[in-house]
């Protein structure tokens, strides 16, 4: 299942902003959450939101606006949100805090090159799985979506460091036994 055209277009523009942010700050934003999971499952499901972690809020806003995104109007709940006028059905949210509370190993991040001027950084699949299982642990019992996402990521990953995965799942408060599959 290929990424929908509009989704891929927003991703490419977001990748331009990632590079602009890198050029200004020397560090990278990281795409997390459902959007990173969508990439890790080759688009088995899509969400309309792209969650990003970046240390410098102001620099991220400049990078986004510089490549054509629009800051959400208003304050309060819409603060931290951006959308692209050509694909306004999607929203990019700068989420607060460090990447996985500083527990993820940064040398495991993955750089996905979209074009020469566009690239996205995503967490290691082990960190994404741990995040999904942690969210499953606190979700309603009727909502197993994050468990299914974790299992899908696990099944689709080219390789998984089981030692690191187990450690990260436990750190995030999830249950590694829920993957109950062998590789």
């Amino acid at each position: 299942m290929a990424l929908p055209t509009a989704y891929a277009a927003v991703l490419e523009q977001l990748g331009c902003a990632f590079l602009a942010y890198r050029d200004e700050t020397g560090s990278f934003p990281v795409l997390v959450g459902g959007a990173a999971t969508a990439l890790g499952t080759a688009g088995q499901f899509m969400s309309a939101d792209f969650d990003v972690v970046a240390d410098d809020t102001d620099a991220f806003a400049r990078a986004m606006i510089g490549v054509g995104f629009i800051k959400e109007a208003g304050i309060g709940h819409l603060a931290g949100g951006f959308y692209h006028p050509d694909h306004a059905e999607f929203v990019v949210e700068l989420v607060s805090g460090q990447l996985f509370d500083g527990k993820a190993e940064h040398d495991r991040l993955v750089r996905l090159r979209i074009k020469d001027h566009s690239e996205i950084i995503v967490p290691a699949v082990e960190d994404l799985i741990a995040d999904r299982l942690a969210q499953h642990a606190v979700a309603s019992s009727s909502d197993t979506s994050r468990l299914l996402q974790a299992r899908a990521l696990f099944a689709c990953a080219p390789k998984v460091d089981m030692t690191y995965l187990t450690r990260r799942v436990l750190e995030e408060g999830g249950d590694p036994e829920l993957l109950h599959v062998t590789r």
Partner: protein, 64 residues
């Protein structure tokens, strides 16, 4: 940090999705049902949905 071309990354992942059966999982079952979304996220998804409706774009299903 490893660097991979997105297109080859997606092709590899998709091949594994097909081989593992993930590609047959019901898409809606994978979607966050929104029970624990923050107020900010709910507001942003609502705004995005409203823009999609106004612009005639096909909105991606989101629960919030």
């Amino acid at each position: 940090m490893r660097t991979i071309d997105l297109s080859s990354y997606l092709a590899d992942v998709e091949a594994r999705a097909v081989a593992s059966g993930v590609g047959r999982v019901d898409v809606d079952a994978l979607r966050n049902k929104g029970g624990r979304r923050t107020a900010a996220k709910r507001a942003m998804l609502a705004a995005a949905g409203a823009r999609a409706g106004g612009g005639g774009a096909a909105a991606i299903v989101s629960y919030y």
